[in-house]
Structure formats: C-alpha cells, structure tokens
Amino acid sequence: MTSFAKLFKQSATYNLGKLLALQLEDFFETLGEIGIRFWHVLRLIARGKLNWRHIIEQCSRFAVDSLPITLSIVGMTCIIIAMQVAPEMVKQGGEKYVGALMAITITRELGAIMSGFAIISMIGSAYASEVATMRVTEQIDALKVLKVDPIEYLFVPRVVAGFIMMPVVVIFSSTIGLICGGVASFLSAHVSKLNYISSVWQGLFIKDINVALLKSSFFGAAIALISCVCGYLAYGGAKGVGLATTKAVVWSFVAIAIIDYIIAAIFFF
C-alpha cells in the first residue's frame, strides 16, 4: 500500500493534478483579491481619499510615458489595415468608403483595444513589477508600519489615473490611426485626401466615440488595478517579481477582452 502510494506520488497524473490544483488555487486567489481590492479602491474613492498630487504624477506617467509606444502600435496597425483593404475596395469601386471603414474600425474596436495592449505592456507591467518589488523588499510593510494605507497610497492614484488618462491616450492614438490610414490608402491605392476625409466623417458616429471613451476608461482602470493586485500578491524575491509581472500582463489582456465583449454586448446588440 505504502509503495503504491509512493509510486502514485511520483506518477505524472499525480504531479499534473497537483500542479493543476495549485494553478486553480492561484487563479481563485487572484480573482478574489481583484474583487476585494476593487471594492476597497471604490470605497476609498467614495470617501474622497484622493491625493491629487499623486494622481497627477501617475496621470502624466500613464499617458506621457506610454504615448510613443501607443501611437506607433495603433499607427502601424492602421497602416497595415489600410494597405490590405484599400486596394481591394478601390478595385471594387468602393473608394468612397475606405475612410468610413477605417473610422468605424478604429472607433469601435481598434483604437481602444490596441492602445490597451500598448498600455498593458508599458504601464501595467511597470506597475506590477514596482508594487511586487515593494512587496518583496518589505517596502509595503514599511508603509503599513508608518500607518499609510498601501491601497490608498499605491492603488488609488494609479487606478484613478488609468480611468482618467486612458480615454486621452485613445483619442490621440485613434487620431493618429486615422491619419496613418489615410496616408497608407493614398500610397497604396491612391485614395484621394478629399475622398478619405469626407468618408471618415461619414463613418464617425457620436455613439461609437462615446462608447469607445467609456470603454477605454474601464480598460485603463482595470489594467491599473489588476497590475497593482498582481504585484501586491507577489512573494519570494526576484522570481516572484517576474511571475507577478507576467501574471499582471496575462490577466490584463484577458480582462480587457472580457470588458470589451461586455460593452459591445450592452451597446451594440
């Protein structure tokens, strides 16, 4: 019996099962912690625990630091789409619709989601590794001993900054995306400037823009919150910081996909 138990413990099934159980535990722990901290942050905001000096600092970091990357990612994507689509559309006599197509694609989906990806890689990962480092080097403990609430000091300014600045980032990147799309359409399929611009106007709807801005606010807040939480849960040195950062990136990707779906379902179906 004991030797059977021993053998079983060495078996792949057992180890796989153990690994899976650990993963599941970790998954639910993270999910629970995100939920708890979400309420925690909301409560602090509702009680007016906003330190505007920290918020403005985080805002400038969130938007300014990430802007080059965000603009180039969204710009490049739009160039590629325009290069692929514009020649086809012109061939089929749809020159007048290229701008509208770009406008709808960008406002409904591309601007926010691509900016989200850029922000996750630039800002989310930085937040996570920062908070995780603070955790493993006992800086968070030091905060607590100094009677400064780490959630109020670290989470709230970042989440608020994400909520405020993400729409700004999306406005910039979408505008750049439209311009890049126009230039690429002209270069690849000779869509005229006038044609493109008037078509863009037809493809821009107030509702799309509003939803995009709302959505990006949620993206920004979610990325900030998840990154902080993953960092906060870190333990065990440099490896722990690395794991926390990876986790923050993965969870943020999944989260914005889910938020995107929910908002699309609410407003467009």
Partner: protein, 241 residues
C-alpha cells in the same frame, strides 16, 4: 507604553517558529532579543507591529505610534532620502496639518544630523551604502516621535562609530520620549550599552531571560554558548529545514 506578549504561537506552513512565547516590556524599558539566525526574532517584531497575525496568543501594545527599523532597511526606492524621512509627515493627515513644508525640512535635517548624514537629502537609496541606508531607515522610523520602537538589527553592518551613535540615540530616545523599545541584535556591545533586559530564543522557545550583565557574566548554557560564540553547546545553527 508597555508591550505584553502572552502565549504567542506562530508557524509558517508546517514549521513552528514561536511556540507559546510570553514576555513583557515595561514603560520606557529596552528589551534585547537575541538568538541564532532563523530563531524568529524578526517574526516577533512583525507580530508586535501587526504585519503578521499570530496563530494564537495575545499581544498588547499600549497606545501611540509603533515604529520599526527593518532588518534590510526597506527604504522606498523610488523616493529620495528627504522624501523617505518626511514620508509619514507628508502622507498622514494628522502631521500634514501640524507641520509646514519648512518645518518638515527642519525635522528631516535634524534627524539626518542625528544619524551623522547631513546633506544627503537628495540622494536616492540605491546611491547609499548599506550602513547609510540603515541609518536613513532609523531616521525615518523615529520621525513621528513613536512611543514604541522596534529595531531589527539597527546596528548590524554599521562601523563601530556609527553603531555607537545609534546605540546612544536609542537610549536617548528612551530617556526623552520614554519610548518602549525592543532591539534585535547579535552584538554584545549593543546589548551592554542599551538593554535593560535580554531574552534569548531558541527552538521556538525563550531559553533565557535576564539582565545584560547576568547574561554576559553568568547566564545559562545557552547564553554562554552565545557569548563565547562557540560551536559546542546546546544550540545547533539552523539547518535548511
């Protein structure tokens, strides 16, 4: 401003670190906690300031701020020395109202002078040596005039002169603020100079309680091994388990 620890038990996963530990530190008293590496000294301090929860037992700390000097300094690495020391004064409401920026500058300068580091306000923590970080950490901890101060190896890694300065200051803080202090240390010189009482931890328990003088001159087999730094004796240095 006393600290009372009753029947404290703490374990991590299946490893018991403290088993039914009780002791008391009176108002204005300085207690030294000694023990081999891994004996649970840092754990006791973290329990007292509420960073970890005990499995069972009770910790009673009387009113007022608790300050802690962390074993590895734990300075905020994205803030410079000035912001580190001023941190509590700038972030906590009760101090924000009380002090103007100029007053805070003064306090920081005074505290830096105390630890012998004038004029390094604008340096970042990573630009400092380990001993300097320790001293900045000390300056940060005492900025709120705490009534209970926990020092986790505050003098470890310091040169003898800086060590003495910190030791004198620990005593002075007790005299001026009537602060109750616990110092974790491996250095006999620190114990001699500062402590009123000593407890020694080994194998989850307190194996010695007494005065510094008694510990150094007589004590029991545990303290004798500690004082003579001998391999022979009842204590074995912690293995990895």
């Amino acid at each position: 401003m006393s600290i009372e620890v009753k029947n404290l038990t703490k374990s991590f996963k299946d490893k018991t670190v403290l088993d039914n530990v009780s002791f008391k530190v009176d108002d204005g008293e300085i207690l030294a906690v000694v023990g081999l590496s891994g004996a649970g000294k840092s754990t006791i301090l973290k329990l007292i300031c509420g960073l970890t929860k005990p499995d069972s037992g009770e910790i009673i700390v009387s009113e007022g701020d608790i300050a802690m000097v962390f074993q590895y300094s734990a300075l905020f690495d994205s803030l410079n020395v000035y912001e580190n020391i001023a941190f509590a004064l700038k972030e906590r409401k009760e101090f924000k109202k009380k002090y103007s920026e100029d007053q805070i500058k003064e306090i920081v300068a005074k505290n830096l002078k105390t630890v012998g580091l004038e004029g390094i306000e604008n340096k970042m923590p990573h630009e400092l040596s380990g001993g300097m970080q320790k001293r900045v950490s000390f300056a940060r901890a005492i900025v709120t005039n705490p009534s209970t101060i926990l020092y986790d190896e505050a003098t470890a890694g310091l040169d003898p002169v800086s060590s003495t300065i910190i030791e004198d200051y620990i005593v002075r803080l007790r005299n001026e603020l009537n602060a109750t202090s616990i110092i974790v240390t491996h250095q006999l010189s620190t114990i001699k100079r500062c402590a009123d009482k000593v407890i020694m931890l080994y194998n989850e328990k307190i194996v010695y309680q007494g005065t510094p003088q008694d510990m150094i001159e007589g004590g029991n087999e545990y303290t004798r091994q500690f004082v003579t730094a001998s391999i022979e004796g009842p204590m074995k240095a912690a293995s990895s388990d």
